[in-house]
């Protein structure tokens, strides 16, 4: 209707819907991230745990990104919640600031590239850097992190962590597997979106 005049502002009704969606998907993301990161409790698979998180959470994230209208605000709150949850669980302020930065970047990527595959895919890859940073304190403040895990895990696991912290390569591998998981997960998510969500009208 060309004659209808609007104020140019987005309606506050869609804002409430966006905020509700942020809450729902944040709850789902935290549950899925914790479940899939439990792979890392097997010492040999520590390095792969970030990949499994990115792989499993790609589908919900694609759906989340395609449903929100205010990308930057929603991504920022979403990542802020995850970072705060990690902060409360003893991860330190570094994780919180990384989360907020990642949220901002993902929101900007969605805004710039739009809601097409390119936008969703790039935002998904940026967001996987957040879950991949969970192990970062092992390298940035090794002693504190080992002391922290010593109160929680047995001697064998801590020894394995200490061995990993000796060289920077496992850190590179952690990020590489995280990004690989997000890339593979992104392609799976695109197929799933086409096959299921677009067909039943949940996503455009």
């Amino acid at each position: 209707m060309p004659n209808v005049k609007t104020t140019g502002k987005k309606s506050s009704n869609t804002l409430v819907r966006d905020l509700v969606n942020v809450g729902i998907f944040a709850a789902l993301y935290i549950v899925l991230a914790f479940l899939s990161s439990s792979v890392g409790y097997i010492p040999a698979l520590i390095v792969f745990s970030t990949g499994s998180i990115a792989l499993v959470t790609s589908i919900p994230l694609f759906l989340f990104f395609s449903k929100i209208e205010r990308s930057i605000l929603c991504c920022l709150i979403f990542c802020g919640f995850f970072g705060t949850a990690m902060f409360v669980m003893g991860q330190g302020i570094l994780m919180l600031s990384i989360s907020l930065l990642v949220g901002l970047l993902a929101g900007v990527a969605l805004k710039v590239f739009g809601k097409g595959f390119a936008g969703l895919f790039s935002a998904n890859i940026i967001l996987c850097l957040m879950s991949s940073s969970m192990m970062l304190p092992l390298w940035t403040s090794t002693e504190e992190y080992l002391e922290y895990t010593r109160t929680m895990c047995d001697a064998g696991y801590v020894a394995k962590l200490a061995e990993l912290s000796q060289s920077p390569w496992p850190l590179v591998a952690i990020y590489a597997f995280g990004i690989l998981g997000a890339v593979v997960g992104g392609f799976i998510a695109r197929r799933v979106m086409k096959k299921h969500f677009e067909r039943i009208g949940l996503a455009k």
Partner: protein, 228 residues
């Protein structure tokens, strides 16, 4: 006994941070608070079962953590660790979710001058954790009836199929619930701009003071502990 939502939030944060960074003595001290509060809510059986399982896990973990127990042992010890660390957090969250209504929580947050843009998703998120588990359990049961299980030969052959069978129905159902929730919120005139009133009076009482004092005392004890 009724606590202010802000006291509950403080309790949850203190329990989380103390339990994840302090030796077990302090976590047992902190575990006592939600347990006693739940006793006031007449949840005898729940508290008893939780407490005995928790004590068994803590004692088992303390006994085994310094030994090198091998690969299978590591799994068992890790499980004990997760149980002993996560149970107090679970019980606090259970208490908070059982006793706090969404409107009280929102009123408490608005008294702390937290913007509505943060409060609304936070309230939805807290309300949604149990829903995610409930829906997941229901979908699991439905899939079991069709012979699709998480740990089976069929799953091993095609691990991605499990994503399709479990995750997608979950996503569809919670998205539908979310849409209904936002419609319900809109009909109750929930907007981020307006300040809401609350029919339930909230405020600090003697019981809040006791919980606050106890939490601070445990934190101070923890901070002043003799370093070995």
């Amino acid at each position: 006994m009724k606590l202010d939502p802000r006291t509950k939030l403080f309790l949850a944060i203190v329990v989380n941070s103390v339990i994840l960074s302090a030796p077990p003595v302090y976590s047992v001290l902190m575990f006592a608070v939600p347990a006693i509060l739940l006793l006031f809510e007449k949840k005898w059986k729940f508290v008893l079962a939780f407490f005995s399982l928790y004590l068994a896990a803590v004692l088992g973990f303390e006994h085994l953590k310094t030994m090198d127990v091998g690969r299978v042992g590591t799994l068992a010890v890790s499980t004990m660790m997760i149980v002993s660390r996560m149970m107090p957090i679970t019980i606090v969250l259970y208490y908070v979710m059982q006793t706090t209504k969404a409107n009280e929580f929102m009123a408490g947050m608005s008294r702390m001058h937290v913007p509505n843009k943060v409060t609304i998703p936070l309230t939805v998120m807290i309300r949604f954790f149990p829903t995610v588990f409930d829906e997941s359990r229901a979908i699991g049961n439905a899939m079991k009836m069709r012979g699709i299980r998480l740990f089976s030969l069929q799953t091993l052959k095609n691990p991605f199929a499990i994503l399709e069978y479990r995750l997608i129905p979950l996503l569809v159902s919670i998205t539908k619930i979310g849409d209904e929730l936002s419609v319900a919120a809109l009909t109750r005139a929930l907007t981020p701009e307006a300040k809401r009133t609350c029919i339930v009076p909230i405020g600090f009482h003697v019981q809040d003071l006791v919980v606050f004092a106890y939490c601070i005392a445990v934190v101070v004890l923890f901070l002043l502990r003799p370093v070995s």
